[in-house]
């Protein structure tokens, strides 16, 4: 049998792509499609028999499950705070360390370090800070505002989660912003300085417009990771007190593996999370396209 050149090329293409495709199909595609299927059943993970229930799980999750709705609202609150704070702090730090010459790399090393540490480890360390160290400092110095029920009071545990997340995440965005700042031609800032612009004007009218593409990336990276937040909450509060700080991913996790074992129902929630993340990405691609046209 002789193969035409085209057939041969197709066979070679498949041979090169096959190993990757195999692992990918088994551990990503199959679970993804399987999840969609299970989301329309009442499968409970233990009982091999289950029946189809259509969209009942979705309806229940979005109308009847106050814990899930609260988790979505709490996650939204978290996302908004993270997008604003994480990017603002990262840009601030990037601008400030770029203005240094000798201490630049030292500060960059320090600020990026938490990013290397798992948020599980970081979360436990911060738990020690919030429950042991801060009350101790408050007792010895009279800084009374430090002595709060950081983990036990929902308002303060939200702040604690934000502090942990920012501590772990700011360095990553800072690296991106530093790379963007280094791409700005220095003559732009020089001519702004000659024209009499002060530091703020130079930042607002020269630096910021020049790093807009990086800001877009930074905002969407934060959006994407914040909607999926899990470790920071798991290690610090476990979703508590009660379920006051439960986020979407934790709610899915507990629904499936801790509380009820309602796999089918939890799958529906998992698909809802997927739809949220996909929506963000579609918006992101739109925005980025428009920006490119303008530029």
């Amino acid at each position: 049998m002789t193969w035409t050149k085209k057939t041969k090329q197709t066979v070679i293409l498949l041979a090169f792509a096959f190993p990757a495709l195999l692992f990918y199909a088994v551990f990503v595609l199959a679970p993804a499609f399987g999840g969609v299927g299970y989301s329309m059943t009442d499968w409970n993970g233990l009982n091999p028999a289950y029946s189809r229930v259509g969209f009942a799980n979705y309806v229940e999750a979005l109308t009847d499950d106050s814990y899930f709705i609260d988790a979505i609202l709490f996650t939204l609150k978290y996302v908004v705070c993270m997008v604003v704070l994480q990017n603002a702090i990262a840009i601030g730090l990037a601008v400030l360390i770029e203005s240094r010459r000798r201490t630049k790399s030292l500060f960059r090393t320090i600020f990026f370090m938490p990013n290397m540490i798992s948020l599980i480890i970081g979360g436990f360390m911060w738990l020690f800070i919030f429950t042991k160290v801060l009350p101790d400092i408050a007792a010895h110095t009279g800084l009374r505002f430090l002595d709060q029920s950081w983990i036990g009071d929902p308002t303060y545990s939200f702040i604690a989660i934000l502090i942990l997340s920012l501590w772990g995440g700011v360095g990553y965005l800072m690296v991106i912003y530093v790379a963007a700042l280094q791409g700005i031609p220095s003559h732009l800032k020089e001519s702004a300085a000659i024209d009499g612009a002060n530091a703020w004007q130079s930042f607002r009218y020269v630096t910021l417009p020049m790093i807009y593409p990086a800001v877009t990336i930074g905002i969407f990276l934060t959006l994407n990771s914040s909607f999926k937040v899990f470790e920071a909450v798991y290690s610090l509060t476990g979703g508590g007190p009660g379920r006051a700080t439960q986020v979407i991913a934790l709610n899915i996790f507990e629904e499936a593996f801790a509380n009820s074992n309602r796999y089918g129902y939890a799958s529906a929630k998992a698909i809802i999370l997927f739809l949220i993340v996909m929506l963000i990405t579609v918006v992101q691609l739109r925005v980025m396209k428009n920006r490119e046209v303008e530029a």
């Binding site: 197709t10 240094r100 738990l127 991106i176």
Partner: protein, 279 residues
Amino acid sequence: MILGKGGRAGSVVIVLFLGIAAVFTLFPIYMGLLNSLKTEGDMLNGILSIPSRLEFGNYADAFRKIHYWRSLGNTAEVAAIGLAGIILFASMAGYKLSRSTGRLSNAIFLVFVLSMLIPFHSIMITLTRISRSLDVQGSTWGLGFIYIGLGVSFAIFLYHGFVKSIPRELDEAAVIDGCGDFRLFFVVIFPLLLPVTATTAILNLLWMWNDFLLPLLMLTNSKSYTLLISTNMLFGEYGNNDWSAILASLVLAMLPVIVFYLLLQKYILHGIAEGAVKG
């Protein structure tokens, strides 16, 4: 310089501000390290103070409780299997998909790229079930295999882009010399992919090393626990009550990444910036 006109006073303010931010960043790590070297009594006397004598007993305790060497070995094993598979399979696929122009090749590439949208939490439930029925749940090698599946698409994306910068003439010359497809790839192309291989290796190593939820779901046998899972289990057991041993185990658990970071910082920061912009 961006903040050029501040002068000397401005400069002092900036350094002061950066210094405070640096203290804030290092504070939890420093407190963890400091108190991991104290006896319980020393800690009660003053959390902020320097220990009256260094107590290494906490570390001996932590070593035993989290089975440090075994956990470290398991983590390294998972990461090594995952990394080897991701680099080998993704470079092969990324190269060929980038070189082929047909509709089939575009479709395969699109399938890989689109999946990068799927959050892990959306597939974890069914993934757990599939892994159980394939008997890969519970073992370190099984976990490594799953990481290959989860990691290849982003790696293919990176390789696919990089291959475009390698001239096609190189492939053609090798083919004329009678080189087969696989030999061409492994002998000629793969060494040229080194920069993107380094980026892929760093990003994936960090991800697998610090990933928590997947091993939590997969490692049902305590003999195959990774560092993070052992630490988490220790915390679950003692909670808020035995901070000495827990802090020592936290320091032990983060030690490998910190060393790795301080040694390879330049490459890591480069890889991060590279990966973020392309992703």
